[in-house]
Point group: C2
Chain length 433, copies 2
């Protein structure tokens, strides 16, 4: 094979990055791959002028591209669900390897798509779907293959991390920063996927499968967004020596896995707490290696293209050897995936940050402490803040030790029922890695 011939579906940000980087670095890439990697056709609803299309055929018909006998690999770079799934299935059925940057597709339909790819002996690669340019899928599937992975925890949504960083550094509130992120193009017009943790849960579901060798279970993931976070809580966290990050956390237990995305306090001395702005990072804890961390840009045209092209180079190297599927899709051989259920969020163990609004009344702290103690919850520290003059309500901030979430929920219900407590108790989980 003198050239791996690629057909790209879509001509958006990532696709143009792939075309531009493949052209700019063609000498380096072919020296690494052992053959040149050439985009021969692009299918998109419309032509754009964001990249050099010289030598690349253009069509508005995806079917034409998928049926193009010249093409070895289809890169699905349009995103979304239905059409993307259709493309991947047709491409595999046509005997073409597939590379995608589509985390939603893999997280929600990966089990079915990998089974199809496996039955055809074809690659279905998705490095670009998780943490953009960071080769973390490769690290888990190959670099850490000696390990039982205990835990994966990551900042895997750049938009959310940008918003939290601005809130911390500049004291701005959520809505204000979100509007700026939308203006900068970091956040979509509908920011739900990013700020409510759905995008992060897609990536986390994939990371968990590859880390633990379990089927994809996105639908079981717990998600809690950052739209309810106040600058008051972010500032309190800072004062306590913590940072608030929107983390995806997957942890393996003998009887099941945790799969959860939520705002989390982490001690500021930890590397993960220092990952700011739109950057992503994934911390992996393995039984042999201990903790390793992978940091880099989680999005962007050429950063994502870097991962797409790395998958294409893998395909080229493997196709040259006539053995395309060397590395199993989810890290373990398909018949060795282990069915481990996702644990309900009420069963996880966590420490907590709590903020209560209490009447300035002697004995309130005693009542709260007594509820906690009766619930088997140890309080690590309490900060009683200055009275807010206008309504005579005192913010009471506390950190607890680790406890099962169901106990914390029950204790909070009792605390909220106290007549001296006003409104809801703010609760943010606290993790140390």
């Amino acid at each position: 094979m003198k050239s791996l011939k690629v057909g790209i579906c879509g001509l958006g940000t990532v696709a143009s990055g792939v075309i531009n980087v493949l052209k700019r670095n063609q000498n380096e890439i072919s020296a690494r791959a052992g053959c040149s990697i050439d985009v021969v056709q692009v299918a998109s609803r419309r032509m754009r002028d964001n990249c050099d299309m010289q030598g690349i055929a253009f069509t508005t018909s995806i079917d034409e591209l998928i049926d193009n006998p010249e093409i070895d690999v289809v890169a699905e770079l349009i995103g979304g669900y239905d059409l993307a799934k259709d493309i991947v299935i047709k491409a595999l059925n046509n005997g073409k390897h597939v590379v995608t940057a589509n985390k939603a597709l893999i997280a929600e339909h990966g089990n079915e798509l990998f089974a199809l790819a496996n039955s055809k002996g074809l690659v279905l690669a998705y490095e670009a779907g998780v943490a953009g340019g960071i080769p973390v899928i490769k690290a888990l599937r190959e670099g850490l293959s000696a390990n039982q992975i205990n835990c994966v925890a990551g900042i895997i949504n750049g938009t959310g991390n940008f918003i939290l960083t601005e809130m911390k550094d500049k004291g701005r509130d959520f809505a204000d920063v979100l509007a700026e992120a939308q203006a900068l193009g970091y956040a979509e017009a509908d920011p739900t996927f990013d700020v409510e943790g759905i995008d992060a849960a897609h990536k986390l579901a994939i990371l968990a499968s590859v880390a633990f060798g379990v089927p994809l279970q996105f639908d079981k993931a717990f998600t809690e967004g950052i739209s309810g976070l106040s600058t008051e809580d972010i500032n309190n966290a800072t004062a306590l020596g913590y940072r608030v990050k929107h983390l995806g956390i997957a942890r393996r237990h003998a009887h099941g896995i945790e799969l959860r995305v939520h705002p989390t306090l982490i001690p500021q001395a930890q590397l993960l707490a220092n990952v700011d702005g739109v950057m992503n990072a994934v911390l992996v804890d393995g039984d042999a290696v201990g903790q390793t961390l992978y940091y880099g840009p989680g999005a962007g045209s050429e950063a994502t293209a870097s991962a797409v092209i790395a998958d294409l180079v893998d395909v080229a190297r493997a196709v040259l050897s006539d053995s395309p599927v060397l590395v199993p899709y989810l890290g373990v051989m398909p018949d060795k995936l282990v069915e481990l259920p996702v644990l309900p969020i009420t069963e996880i163990q966590s420490a907590y940050y709590l903020r209560l609004s209490a009447e300035d009344h002697p004995g309130v702290l005693a009542k709260v402490s007594s509820i906690m103690s009766d619930s088997g919850i140890n309080i690590e520290s309490v900060i009683q803040k200055d009275k807010e003059r206008e309504n005579e309500v005192i913010p009471l901030v506390m950190l607890t030790q680790t406890v099962q979430e169901s106990k914390m929920i029950a204790a909070i219900a009792k605390i909220e029922a106290l007549p001296e407590i006003k409104g809801s108790v703010v609760r943010i989980r606290v993790e140390q890695f």
Copy 2:
């Protein structure tokens, strides 16, 4: 193939880690590799009781192991040069794949050994040689294959980083911390390799080759150790918002590469500045992906074993496909390596931290400033510290902007020739990534 059969040379810390992890995680590892990976024989001068040798043949004869027809892969885990080189050559000549954790061997004899392995169509893998358990060779050779790599900078010696962290955190001096590191087993009885930057230069030479696609050039690396660092300079750096790290830096230019290991001030806000203790981290700057960083334990029995076994899993996956050498040894096809010379240290560009001891005399700063200005060196900031009473000498600390090293050397010679300047000028390079 039902099993990949491994023979291990050596029975030290890393070898026992490999044996223990392969046994403990045999289910996970075989599910990932597609076959079981079994150590069938160990050759060592003497038996030890640091691992479970059940089912593993023991010999004191390395030749017996290398001639064992049952063995598919030889793991060279004895370290050092001559014997290790001999083992690798004999194993390759006997048709066996080789996995090694020996950075010195690869850095100094890799060009010759890779040529031999290539001529035999055999794997010679060395992930464990660089940054211990961090899969950074895989990241460079595969995960970032789309990129022109501009720069690699790393904390790649855990002993040195432990010493610098202790000096910063506790104000202890170098000799004191080194003695503790030796007692803890982090540092060798002869610490030269670690503290003078030779070990880091071995790893950096390998990283540079893989990053830039150039032959190994360890002998051309510039090294400057940390044994001359004083707590005074480390404290000054902290006060200026920097951390002092013993960095390996490789940078690619059109006409050559930088390859240098030396103490370096980096702004404390950068992630690399926050890598403390025995941990390692490697920052990679690629033209498409931007900056990515890989963090983890750079040494230790099971952390290093994690990388050795990952290489064995790669061999198993590839051997099962009858195409062992999928990924070229140094990331690019052997005939595509580019000869790029290592630039002399005098040609690099750097900013500098300088500390002068000056007589308390009006006009000293003016004289120094004038020398700098005449040399084309811009001063970024100056701190004139309190007089040290006993000898009436004032420490003068300054940060310069970026300048060519040869100009800085010439300027320092002129400054040291001033009658008001006592002793040598302390000079530490400053980098921002």
